[in-house]
Amino acid sequence: MVSRKILVYVETSESGPADYSLELVGKARELAAKADMSVGAIVVGYGVSDIAREVIYRGAEEVHVVDDRRLATYSLIPYTTAVAEVIRKVEPEIVLFSATVSGRELAPRVAARLRTGITADCTDVDIGDWVDPATGRRYERILYQIRPTFGGEIMAAIVTPNHRPQMATVRPGLFSVPPRDTSRSGRVFEWNVEVPSDELEKVEVLEVRRERRKVDLKSARVIVSGGRGCGLKGFELVRELAKVLGGEVGASRAAVDSGWIPYDHQVGLTGQTVKPEVYVAIGISGAIQHVVGMKDSKIVIAINKDPDAPIFRIADYGIVGDLFVVLPKIIERLKRR
């Protein structure tokens, strides 16, 4: 019998496979054990054989590689072609992507090409049976895709009964990265995908401006984050509070884009996902793209002058007030302790 497969689309950088992709490989193994499936990965890029081996060390039983000089950097349309072609040939039951900036455009584009369903931003995936109430038909060991909707107010469980593959993007930072085991072996399949040259010419990346990350907020027990409300001046107070509490400094994208603090400190969809014991959000409104990066913090404290700021809805403790008045007083109190 041909073994049924779960494939994980693995994003890469010069330093190797992305941690959030490896997390998904770990999660896929858990699902595969429940459903009697095997776990594979898809890697697209140029000179990626080391990466393929690394993904095997992390638990993939096979890696499907599209290695092409013209695919050295990510570009949506040719990558769609590469990934869709691999899926057509391998015929997996399930394909998982990370809900990153590129995953959230690549996955739906691939799904549309394959005319299958896709669920965005899952916070959990599981295997289970389902009976279609309309037809009474029973589906065994299919993918349950659990996701927030209505801006996070409602959760939904979604299935893809009749179309294959079952596809989902999964939020980064939910699962742990599986341990590296260099004794593991697996097969690497190299696929030659015909990428039409006009696909490569349709979109041209002229320039990438990116800051490299040096600060790791993941292991911090206390994070004090500042947002647009702080300004350059307010960030001095944010830093001081972080110091007094022995924590790290975090930031919203608005603060990073304003140049008050380097990107290393950004929390959120395009920054880091953090889960400290205490997260203090100062002058941060609580936009969903920020909240996805910090909502699993144990205790959330918000300081904001707008009582209607969405951040208060997900806070354990909130202080409505001007940070320039409130923070100096808090810092003084803590110093007196």
Binding site: L76, R115, A156, L245, Y263, T270, G318
Partner: protein, 271 residues
């Protein structure tokens, strides 16, 4: 060179209203007023700015029940020239694949009517489904490029657009051949507040309602029949946060209460 832009606008239940469930566990969308998806205002603003700079036409496209027409007046007041509202009971239950197919069919027809098309703009996501799928999927159905998370459209010239895209850690500058679909993020555009005159003028703008048959949509590809995904169950998220928010004109009082609550709950702030 005047340009032709389609902007995809989703009428949604007012995100400020509390979501209501029917007894059978499905969401009750009937009772509440529909408004323009807040994220789509950035796309509308971007489209109108392009038109102001280059001349041309901005056609809004929405797929929603007929009573959504009222909500589209706001987009018309912001400078959209006319709307096509795709409305048909056959569309009920469409997931993102089915919705993107239906919307792409409408875009194709508008494209023919205009005799050309440069851009399809949409929001980065809708406030009710939050998927961001529609942009890339419409691009795929139309077989044209798509770019998600566009911060700003810097230039449109010689059949290409120069766009700045948000990425992890920064920006990418890219040149995209037209026609293309761009999902506009809310980072660089400030949606305009229409003047009274613009609001009044919007009343005279055209909202044309099309059915699936008007567009030649294959009924087997929309609605529940055309949707690969099924929602099994929905439930309200329990916010497990303590929600102790302190507010008082006297800051010292607020802090007194704040620290006292922390003490009482046994929360220590230090690392």
């Amino acid at each position: 060179m005047p340009i032709s832009v389609v902007v995809l606008v989703k009428p949604v239940v007012d995100p400020k209203a509390v979501v209501k469930f029917r007894p059978d566990g499905t969401i009750d969308r009937s009772a509440v007023k529909l408004v323009v998806n807040p994220y789509d205002k950035y796309a509308i603003e971007a489209a109108v700015q392009l038109k102001e700079k280059l001349g041309g036409r901005v056609v809004g496209v929405a797929m929603a029940p007929p009573h959504a027409a009222d909500s589209l007046r706001e987009a018309l007041a912001m400078g959209v020239d006319e709307f096509i509202l795709l409305s048909d009971p056959k569309l009920a239950g469409s997931d993102t694949l089915a919705t993107s197919y239906a919307l792409s069919a409408v875009v194709r027809k508008v494209w023919q009517k205009l005799g050309g098309l440069d851009l399809v703009l949409c929001g980065i996501e809708s406030s009710d489904s939050n998927t961001g799928h529609i942009g890339p999927e419409v691009g795929e159905w139309l077989d044209i490029p798509s770019v998600s998370y566009v911060d700003s459209i810097l230039e449109v010239r010689d059949g290409a657009a120069l766009v700045k895209r948000l990425i992890e850690g920064g920006y990418a500058l890219m040149k995209v051949k037209l026609p293309a679909v761009l999902s506009v993020a809310g980072t660089s555009y400030q949606p305009r507040i229409p003047t009274l005159r613009e609001v009044l003028a919007a009343r005279r703008k055209q909202i044309t309602v099309w059915s699936t048959a008007d567009v030649g949509i294959d009924p087997s590809l929309v609605g529940l029949a055309g949707s690969p995904t099924r929602v099994v169950r929905m439930w309200r998220v329990e916010i497990k946060r303590r929600g102790k928010i302190f507010s008082d004109s006297d800051v010292d009082k607020v802090l007194e209460k704040f620290f006292e609550e922390l003490r009482r709950d046994g929360v220590s702030l230090g690392a």
